[in-house]
Symmetry: C2
Subunit: 552 residues, 2 copies
């Protein structure tokens, strides 16, 4: 383990810095988020790498297989990217993971160092990962770069730091001396953080690394071998991450199968077989609620991020234009395909009071609609904000829905992206509807759609938002309110439904963004998910404290 030990020395400062950042929760990242911070030639190199990888076997995993599969489709080209990945049988995957359980014998500090080293290698691949992400998820280049690159690395590092801290918080041994009156009872005691077993991490189609690496690195730092099963339509970005980690493991004379990639196709899924396998003890999952509820019902330790109905409460903003701009951007960003995107905007039928005077319900609708229209049609902003739609069904669900029992303030449309003429794009539909129409707005409608819901009054807005969060889950609530008593009311009511509130966001502050080392992502307290990136529970559930005692 000499190599790993020198890696520990290499990364010890960063690790300690990250542990400290976890606990101060001020702004922290070791990974610059802007492409400008990286060598000028890196962008072209990444673009080339992606072009050359198309229609090839992905050999970087160094896995032998007789069956190479892959069916990813670029939302920008609307053609398959043709990358194939090695497959192994379920038995072989589990067998490999069992054999890799020696990972637990590597100290937590060395494990953390190896994992951080892999993040350093990933940082050298940010542009490769960015193009891989664009052409699987439909994210714009900038979002793909940031979300799958530095922001994902931040979340991975956060999990590594939390695991390292938690395992080190108790001593590995002590002499325990109990005074018994005439003599002392003396015992030598040791404690081990015994990993739970084998982790399975199930990825989603829209954020293939950002939503996968937290669970993956959390299980790994706590000593569990991991099998990652990405969404069949978004494999390449996480395959690169896994390949880099496998390289670091091999270089350090460790079993590369400590991390494995399992791939499948939509027609022959293997996720349930994996999740139900008796040797899988930990399951991380990001995706829809039906499958997420199934995962939670397995008698395993699960970490889910499902979906929710995110709300915007417009109560008493300073000015309506800033509000409309902010909501317009948040709802349009990646065409509403973010788990944190706002869906329902609650506005009292009598309108709202702002510092600039009363604004009627219809005027609120008009401002929001104009904001979305202006943004999506903006020649420099539109395409880059919207990105592409990951999946045909997302558009179909929205266009099939028509007016959703309300009125269409904005229909949404296919617009063109000069850079990618075949890109699948659809701009947000804005539906104005009455609070009674729960059938339409009372569940998650994934993708580019916003409901402006007419409520009886401000309290009614809050009541519906809280009820939705309790019954359907919510990751975010955006509130515009300058009345202090009402702010407290919104905060305590939404917080009681385990939903965080973002107040009066404008300018560069958007509700969609959750920063690692500061914002817990998903609270774990409502139906939107049972876990939180990265609270102590997120790592502690992955291992068991076992204490041994020795008579002196």
């Amino acid at each position: 383990m000499t190599t790993a030990m020198s890696l520990f020395e290499k990364h010890a400062d960063l690790l300690n810095e990250a542990v400290s950042a976890l606990h101060t929760r001020t702004y922290y990242t070791p990974y610059p988020e802007h492409p400008r911070a990286y060598p000028e030639e890196a962008n072209d190199a990444g673009k080339d790498w992606f072009a050359k990888s198309m229609n090839q076997e992905f050999k970087e995993l160094h896995v032998e297989s007789s069956d190479w599969i892959g069916e990813e489709v670029s939302p920008y080209f609307q053609t398959g990217i043709g990358v194939t990945y090695p497959t192994l049988s379920l038995d072989q995957l589990i067998h490999n993971a069992q054999a890799a359980k020696t990972w637990k014998d590597v100290s937590v500090g060395e494990r953390a160092a190896i994992l951080i080293e892999s993040l350093d290698r990933v940082a050298k691949r940010y542009f490769d990962i960015a193009y891989a992400t664009m052409h699987t998820t439909g994210q714009s280049f900038m979002m793909a770069f940031q979300a799958s690159g530095p922001h994902a690395n931040d979340r991975a590092l956060e999990a590594v730091a939390m695991g390292y801290h938690e395992i080190n918080r108790f001593p590995s041994e002590v002499n325990w001396v109990k005074p018994m009156g005439k003599f002392d009872l003396e015992l030598h005691k040791t404690w081990k953080a015994q990993p739970r077993g084998i982790g399975l991490v199930i990825g989603c189609s829209t954020f293939p690394t950002w939503n996968t690496v937290p669970g993956m690195y959390a299980s790994l730092v706590t000593g569990n071998p991991v099998i990652v099963k990405p969404h069949p339509k978004a494999i390449l970005p996480i395959a690169i991450v896994i390949a880099e980690l496998r390289n670091v493991l091999t270089e350090n004379n460790l079993d590369p199968n400590i991390i494995q990639l399992a791939v499948d196709t939509l027609s022959k899924p293997i996720t349930k077989q994996l999740a139900e396998h008796k040797d899988i003890t930990l399951v991380d999952y990001t995706g829809g609620n039906v499958f997420g509820d199934y995962i939670e019902s397995l008698n395993k330790i699960t970490f889910t991020e499902k979906a929710g109905v995110n709300s915007v409460i417009i109560d008493s903003p300073k000015d309506i234009k800033g509000v409309a701009q902010n909501i317009g951007f948040s709802a349009s960003l990646y065409s509403g395909q973010m788990c944190t995107a706002p869906q329902n905007v609650y506005v009292p039928e009598s309108g709202i009071d702002t510092a600039e005077g009363h604004v009627s319900f219809d005027e609120v609708v008009m401002h929001i609609t104009k904001s979305v229209e202006g943004l999506v049609n903006h020649p420099k902003m539109g395409a880059g904000t919207l990105g592409g739609i990951q999946n045909d069904n997302t558009i179909k669900r929205i266009t099939d829905g028509g007016n959703f029992g309300g009125e269409l303030a904005l229909g949404g449309q296919e617009i063109s992206n000069p850079e990618f003429e075949n890109a699948r794009i659809f701009t947000p539909r804005v539906v104005v509807t009455d609070y009674n129409n729960v059938e339409a707005y009372g569940h998650e409608c994934f993708g580019p759609i916003v409901f402006i819901v007419k409520t009886k009054d401000r309290n009614h807005s809050l009541q519906i938002a809280a009820e939705m969060a309790r019954s359907k889950g919510a990751l975010t609530c955006l509130a515009y309110c300058t009345d202090e008593a009402m702010m407290r009311e919104i905060e305590s009511t939404m917080n009681a439904a385990f939903t965080p509130v973002s107040f009066n966001f404008g300018g560069a502050a958007f509700v969609n963004q959750h920063a690692a080392f500061s914002d817990f992502h998903v609270t774990g307290g409502n139906p939107a998910g049972n876990a939180s990136f990265t609270n102590p529970e997120y790592v502690n559930k992955r291992f068991v404290w076992v204490g041994n005692r020795y008579a002196k």
Copy 2:
């Protein structure tokens, strides 16, 4: 909250000391365990209190009720103690707990101080609690005093300290400043540890306070109102604790219903109704596996301590007599009615090697049998070690079992206790059996019984012990081994089954004893239970981190 604030100042040092002890895991207690440490007159006062409480309504809870019930029976008198408790309807209990949710608005430091104050009051009632425990559980006076008094207080303080530490580990607010190049994005952020809801704590008949206070104080310190539902045959000890806490709450102008006692009878149980109630979000449970598995299957956050098959591996001790003495005591203490008591002693058919030479299988049996016999018949030690049998069925199960398909090395017997002529006592039965007879030894046999299991060899002993731990659960494993390679093998194999190992215990070291602030009680990793007193998870699962963000 001024009173609570001064309580915080009163207890802040103790609280910080306890948090520190949690993390050093060396010997720590603020509560002396020996009755000698308390005023001389306290013992008689406690005895009097208990005598006067018999056949009375327990009014200390200050709860009005039209229906007072109670059916506790003293294992020493074998007659009912006649104490009755106020009952409330399920709806009333839940309604009261809902109304008491304002407890979350008391800061965690003040909550901790109030809880510690209640432990101070409990400390003044140790003798009352000891007699109440004796005459419900059958424990000897000394065990009743220690387990229900200072040791329970230790475990409660441990949970309070862990909760206080965990909630304070993240800041309650920060200014978050992200450099964006040309400007800074600035947000004010706050975090709240939002309690999960209402906790239900279900007690057991043998350790009515020790096994109840950890969950009760853990839920309380994290801001959840709690309903305690003790075993109908062991209410009085925990009723005293609850009464003292209610007094402290009332004195501090807080709702005493933050903690409630719910009582029932064997014929009209209310536990399932309570556990299944939609408003109950947290359930702590100690007891048998069937009901424990049911509790875990509820879609709630559960903390269970069930039962397991604890093992002794006799491999290569220094001397067999010391081993036999230690096992004899551990198996006889409270007549094997401890969750940590050893049940199966694995011995190779070819016998064992000791520093004093080879010892045959039959000789091992003889030494253990003699040790138990000598202890239980010892005029000064016997009655005090054995205590009484809590429940008739425990004796019936053992006597009905006959030789359990093996050979009776010791039949077990009813012996007399000069102090209590009607005491229900039964000494340990020792059954010698072949490893094939899994039907007999392969599950928990609660009470005074020990199986000496003849195995093929040392590896076979370990293999069976580990398999039992994995499939049936285990809280403890006692191993006698002086061969270092084998010690490592036993440790890693049992630890992989999430079972702690105690090596070569002799003298005053007994496997039954788990010390607060040092030994985690139950690992939570095998079927013996899903929780651990007191790891970070034990408190973290009881609240949710919710973060709010405010534009500047």
